[in-house]
């Protein structure tokens, strides 16, 4: 199930709210858990046992880690980490490995692709961080299986994040009271996220698809496509994160913020402090630092950075293009660090911003391409190998509403920077009023209804 659907807004959410408000306090986590399993099962019920097994295993090994001492603790930690990781590798990467071997000439026949359980990456990262945190004694092991499973499976963050760490919700899982202000804030965040995704993200999606479908995009086609994708990805993902955070707040759970105006960054390091914050901080704390971080010399820190970003890239999807995207960013971060280490002067903020944005957008070209030939086509388009002016095929796909949305999206990206001089304006921009959020949400609902009806309408050709 997805948040942006009638089934979620008009069936799942009201049923959940009725049930959640109606049960006694000690059954509230069980209620969240039950609804989360239904939410997940809406996609496929037959993958639920996998999720339940990972949650149970992670909970059990957490207790083991907490009770063990000496070398046994390390074994317990390994037991907590390895099986979820193996399940992730199996479901997410075996297809890629088999395809790659087949393309290298390995005699592989009749391989049927393994479906990837949605949300598995977020689920496994949650389990790993929990095991490591219990091992590090950052958090105590959770004695209640229901509470732990509720943390793992909560429908708000189950499918597309943010990557929620157990420690950020541990206290609230044990006890929380209804707070109408918090509920209102959650609702506001949910409605704003909904509007971001529907009105901007989803509006730009067809344009991106059309641009990436071109066999020979011109330079202008490519630039508009990449600009549209840059905004589509941000408003889609940030919108989804905002909805997740809002749903969490409505029931008293605080999920971490995931975006902080990333396209205003003035350096790549700054970008990664603002983009998908829950993932980048996870990678820092559970991969980069365990690899040695900055502590083993400059060269080793560069290697660690590259490895972290490459694996982070591969985490996003089972395709070599994702890995190269990660390496691209790793390379950019290494160059940034080397620049500072060599004591070159800081760039003016505007120059740094432009360079960062161009770098990030080039990275998105790889990120969005489903395979190498597509990425190569886009890069050749950017280089002007298929002409400079906008092609007829792309112009026909470029709707006026998409152009307007593109401009509004750019405006929204830069609005916080432009509003800097006025505190009341910055407050309005960063935290729009409830009623504005409600109006935007209503508008989004209407747009969603009219969009969904189109595919059912046209059957004549």
């Amino acid at each position: 199930m997805v948040f942006v659907s009638d089934a979620f807004v008009f069936v799942f959410l009201p049923l959940f709210l009725i049930a959640y408000a109606g049960v006694p306090a000690f059954l509230r986590n069980s209620t969240i858990l039950f609804f989360s399993l239904v939410f997940y099962g809406w996609w496929r019920f037959d993958f639920l046992p996998l999720l339940v097994a990972i949650a149970c295993w992670s909970w059990l090994t957490g207790l083991w880690i907490a009770r063990a001492s000496g070398p046994e603790r390390r074994w317990a930690l390994l037991a907590g980490i390895v099986p979820p990781l193996v399940s992730l590798v199996y479901f997410k990467y075996v297809n890629l490995i088999v395809d790659s071997l087949a393309s290298l000439g390995a005699p592989i026949k009749d391989w049927s692709a393994i479906p990837l359980p949605i949300g598995l990456s977020f689920f496994v990262f949650g389990a790993i961080s929990y095991s490591v945190d219990v091992f590090r004694k950052t958090v105590p092991a959770e004695p209640s299986l229901i509470n732990y499973s509720t943390y793992q499976a909560m429908f708000g963050h189950l499918v597309a994040g943010p990557v929620v760490r157990y420690q950020s919700v541990a206290e609230r899982l044990k006890s929380r009271v209804f707070d109408s202000n918090e509920f209102a804030e959650g609702l506001r965040r949910f409605m704003l996220g909904f509007a971001q995704k529907v009105l901007i993200g989803d509006t730009l999606a067809p344009l991106v698809d059309a641009g990436y479908a071109l066999p020979a995009p011109s330079m202008c086609d490519t630039i508009v496509t990449v600009a549209a994708y840059t905004l589509h990805l941000y408003f889609d993902f940030a919108g989804y994160s905002s909805m997740a955070i809002g749903l969490g707040l409505m029931i008293g759970l605080k999920f971490p913020e995931n975006f902080d105006n990333p396209y205003l960054s003035t350096s790549l390091a700054d970008f990664w402090r603002r983009w998908h914050i829950s993932l980048s901080s996870w990678l820092r704390d559970y991969l980069y630092i365990p690899l040695g971080g900055n502590r083993a010399g400059r060269f080793r820190s560069y290697v660690n950075l590259m490895v972290t970003m490459a694996l982070g890239g591969l985490w996003h999807g089972a395709s070599w293009t994702f890995m190269i995207w990660g390496i691209w960013h790793g390379l950019g971060l290494v160059i940034g660090r080397a620049w500072n280490a060599l004591r070159f002067p800081d760039m003016p903020a505007l120059v740094g911003h432009v360079i960062t944005l161009v770098f990030v957008m080039i990275g998105w070209m790889l990120f969005r391409a489903q395979d190498w030939p597509t990425a190569a086509t886009m890069f050749s388009g950017l280089a002007g190998q298929h002409g400079l002016a906008m092609s007829n095929g792309f112009t026909a796909a470029l709707r006026p509403i998409e152009v307007v949305t593109l401009l509004i999206g750019i405006g929204l990206v830069y609005l916080p920077a432009l509003a800097k001089s006025s505190p009341s304006l910055i407050s309005f921009v960063t935290r729009p009023p409830f009623m504005l959020a409600a109006l935007l949400w209503l508008w989004s609902l209407w747009v969603m209804q009219s969009r969904t009806v189109i595919p059912f309408l046209y059957f004549q050709f």
Binding site: S5, F45, L214, P215, S391, P400, T452, I454, F461
Partner: protein, 352 residues
């Protein structure tokens, strides 16, 4: 608190609407679904659709929005290109996709096999590709050129030249405009020209027909265009929608030979086409031009070979006694993704 309640009221009114308006259908869907549908997630799509249908929506409001977008921005939705002077086009004719060449090549590979399948049955197959509206009425496109249409048409002309085909070339003799302004199909002049050109080819093979066929025209009435419908403009206020179009429906009257109780012989000419064959009186004009009755086996949404393959694979008995099959298809369907039937036919004929 009031603002929270206002939002919750909207959510819960939607919930009540689903309960009231889709109660039975939801229950039926859930009751009828086998366990495997629950497990595999196949059920979700059907339930989502039932819930979607249960949420009230205002056609007037949607029409107003579509009309404002159309008049304000010249935006007619994702599937319709708004040209000048209320000329609408299907974006299928204008867009380019990296898989176009692959789809077109696959269809062109089908061509000799299809021709052979009918030749084996001693049936003459007459191919009638319908030119794209975008290419024929390019001057009203305003903002783009019909390059994609030209590429398709030229590729077809080259391929057809290498296959022994009885084909009607409408592209070079098209009566401009020949299409409805707000519809993707040919208008009566286009349909009439196509019918006359096709009949000429059939008559040259079979000789002139002898049946008495006459044409009567109905009253003039407004004709809602399918592109206007696709763009959501049929519900728009008149001042925001494209100007209306009017048609006089044509009807062919066939006076069959034989007595009152005689069984008339089944027509020996079959029309297996797409929605073009079902529009603007094409079959009526065809029968008048042929002086023969024609059996209609066309299929809306049939694309390239939909109706033809259905007849070959599912209803071959229809071909008994047939002398000619007229195979009409829109040129744009050359690059559409292959249908399951087309893919299967290609696999069978190519032996893998």
């Amino acid at each position: 608190m009031i603002k929270i309640l206002a939002v919750l009221a909207i959510i819960f009114s939607g919930f009540v609407s689903v309960l009231v308006r889709s109660g039975d259908s939801l229950f039926d869907i859930l009751k009828a679904a086998p366990l495997k549908d629950y497990l595999s997630g196949n059920l979700s799509g059907r339930v989502d659709r039932a819930v979607f249908d249960a949420i009230p929506r205002s056609a007037d409001l949607n029409g107003l929005s579509a009309g404002l977008l159309y008049k304000g921005l010249r935006d007619a939705g994702p599937q319709v290109w708004a040209g000048c002077n209320d000329w609408l086009y299907s974006t299928e004719e204008l867009r380019v996709d990296r898989r176009d060449a692959e789809h077109m090549a696959a269809r062109l590979r089908m061509l000799p096999h299809l021709v052979q399948a009918f030749a084996d049955r001693n049936i003459l197959l007459i191919v009638v590709p319908v030119p794209d509206k975008a290419e024929q009425v390019e001057d009203k496109l305003c903002g783009v050129a019909a390059d994609a249409s030209r590429v398709r048409a030229d590729a077809w002309a080259r391929a057809a030249g290498t296959t022994k085909l009885h084909r009607v070339n409408l592209r070079d003799q098209w009566p401009r405009p020949g299409y409805w302004r707000t519809d993707t199909h040919w208008d009566t002049t286009g349909a009439q020209l196509a019918a006359e050109a096709t009949a000429k080819l059939v008559n040259s093979a079979l000789g002139a027909g002898t049946e008495r066929v006459s044409l009567t025209r109905g009253a003039r009435h407004e004709r809602p265009g399918d592109l206007a419908r696709l763009a959501g403009l049929l519900d728009a206020p008149k001042w925001l929608a494209p100007a209306a179009e009017y048609v006089e429906e044509a009807r062919a009257n066939i006076q069959r030979s034989g007595g009152l109780l005689d069984d008339a012989a089944a027509p020996s000419i079959l029309l297996a086409g797409s929605s073009f064959s079902l529009n603007s009186g094409f079959i009526e004009y065809l029968q008048v031009s042929l002086l023969r009755e024609v059996a209609q086996v066309s299929e809306a949404g049939g694309g390239f070979a939909g109706a033809l393959l259905k007849m070959l694979q599912q209803k071959p008995e229809m071909l008994a006694g047939a002398k000619v099959v007229i195979w009409e298809w829109p040129m744009r369907s050359l690059v559409a993704p292959l249908s399951d039937a087309e893919r299967q036919w290609l696999r069978q004929t190519e032996g893998h």
